[in-house]
Amino acid sequence: MVEFIVPPILIYLATFFKIEKVKIIMPFLAILMFIPVAHTFFKGDISYFDSLFLLDDLGRYVLIASIIVSLSITLALISLDKHVKLSQKAYKNFYRFFAIFWVGLTISILSNSMGVYWIGLETATLSTVYMIKTNSGSFAHKEAWNYMIVGTIAISLILFGIILIYASAKPLLDEDAMKFSLLLANAKEIKNGYLFELGFAFVAVGMFVKMGFFPMNLWLANIERASFYPVAALFSGVLESAIIIGFFRFALIAKEIDYPHLIGFGFVYTILTLFIVSFLIYRVKDFMRLFSLSGVEHMAIMALFWISGAHFAALLHFGAHAFIKPALFISTGVLESGGKYHIAGSLRGYKGLAGKSFVFIVSSLILAIVSLPPSPMFFSELYGFGGMIDLAKRSNHLLLMLTGIAFILLFLSIIFYKFIEVYQSSKYDGVKKEKKVYVSELISLALLAVASLGLLLPPVFRFLNAIG
């Protein structure tokens, strides 16, 4: 278990040297994180510390996805100071908080106990507050405070719900009521279903607020706007994966307790969120907000697919989003080098092999995020909507659910339209301005693009099916 935490400790120790020399080493330290995962890949479910931590296939998948994303972020960080103004101390602090964040993340992904999961999540949340502050200026300062306040409210709501869930299961399982695996196994025997549902409602609302659902849609967009692009990439790729894995685990247990309530709650909440987000995306004027709101939309769809029982689709969607969205965020560092609100013409003016390959990768990523084939998003939505229609057929409210699905498709089409408009405008409108692409960024983008394509391979499909 300790071997998972060694690489972030090494990253933390490396920041004590001069940052200009050390930042090249960081990606290699990030690669070290693969070793413990690869080592235990084929060993099935492993439990550590008296099943306080459990490494099952779901955890492995999320961990690998997060490692790939943070590898590419460390690559992109190499050229950060060429795009934005950053002091040496801020740079160092950034890596330090990144290391603490990684420790918290590992704890929450690997944990089998609800409480330990919460501790990891809270460490990750509080360490990202400072990362927003690395961008100087009063807007960033205000947004860091906003993040702190709303983030801590969300975390406290999650803990509140966890305590209520623990209380509902304690008569049955005693001290072991904290463990996800035991809760899932004994879910049907929990007597006090109402208490569990109350707790789950608190947990779900806390997680949704953290992921930027209603009513906090603009909060997340403003935070990601106020911070640097690697921070935004970190949020959308890695932090949200920690939250969504928690939601997946809790939802599995809630499904056993009272499925219709879960469906009703989930559908209403996500449709409301999609409604608001789609109109916010329609009016967006810069890249960062566009991508962060789109991230909210994808999280909503993931939650929806998981609740409807289309686990494979949700996991595939998760993986695709975790690769594509950070890539897009990293590319905004270059796309916005002509100015923040200049969407038009941002994909023009690249010269040389590096420039041309950058344009190719970024345009394909923009088209991939709106589920055009052959992106993995396309397949995930195919299976996901199929799963939802299956659920509608099995339930007693066929017409109601089909209406809901129709509305979801309507909102997604608004988002689809906006992305295509952004793509067209950035490629064909506007003034041609010279923009420079750095090799490290290109490598990170290529890595993420390849990883997202790699999701389409049959062994990966089989693996995901097995988890579901």
């Binding site: 106990s113 409480g115 330990v116 919460w118 501790i119 809270e122 460490t123 509080l126 507050v129 400072y130 502050k133 100087s136 009063s138 300062h141 860091a144 405070w145 702190m148 306040i149 801590t152 409210i153 975390i155 406290s156 709501l157 803990l159 509140f160 966890i162 305590i163 209520l164 623990y166 209380a167 304690k170 008569p171 001290e175 904290m178 006090n192 109402y194 208490l195 109350l198």
Partner: protein, 198 residues
Amino acid sequence: MIDFFIGLFLANLIVSLFTTRLYRLILWYSLNSLSLGVAALLVGKELNDMPMMIIGGVTIALKGIALPYILKMLSIRFKLERIITPNIKVPYSIILVPAVVVFTFYLTEPIIHMVGGNQNYVALSIAAMFLSLILMLEHKNIAPKIIGFLSIENALFLLGISATGGMPMLIELGIFFDLLMAVVVINLLFKKEEVQNG
């Protein structure tokens, strides 16, 4: 006597919703934590649970005495606004606060047959959480928002000691760790503001 101290806990929280001075708010928060710590001690003694008694003592020392002192020092050093007017007018909050309390009792009615816990305390902790959220949302200044967050932690602690007859030590340590990190981050955020403005 546990009832008395839990009642005091709620009363202090409600008074802090009506106050308009910062140092007074810190005082109510401190009394809040003190009554919570004493209640935790009494519950621990009744259940013969040593860890809970220790945590109760730590609450009294840390949240009742040390943390308010730190908050006061921070507000002096960073020259925070000492007059904090709530955004909700008094007549409306007179109606809102009892409505919230009654609503949470309605919410927790189905769990009246809980084993190993007391339904009323669970309802009061949910009410305390909602009231702390109101405290956080009704002021514009930063300081009441911080104290609102700290009151949410108190409500969590109350739920932890009352709902289950003892939380695993890990969780209570987690709550304190959360508090610690939050104070560190708050200090960091304030420092940078000073550096930028000064």
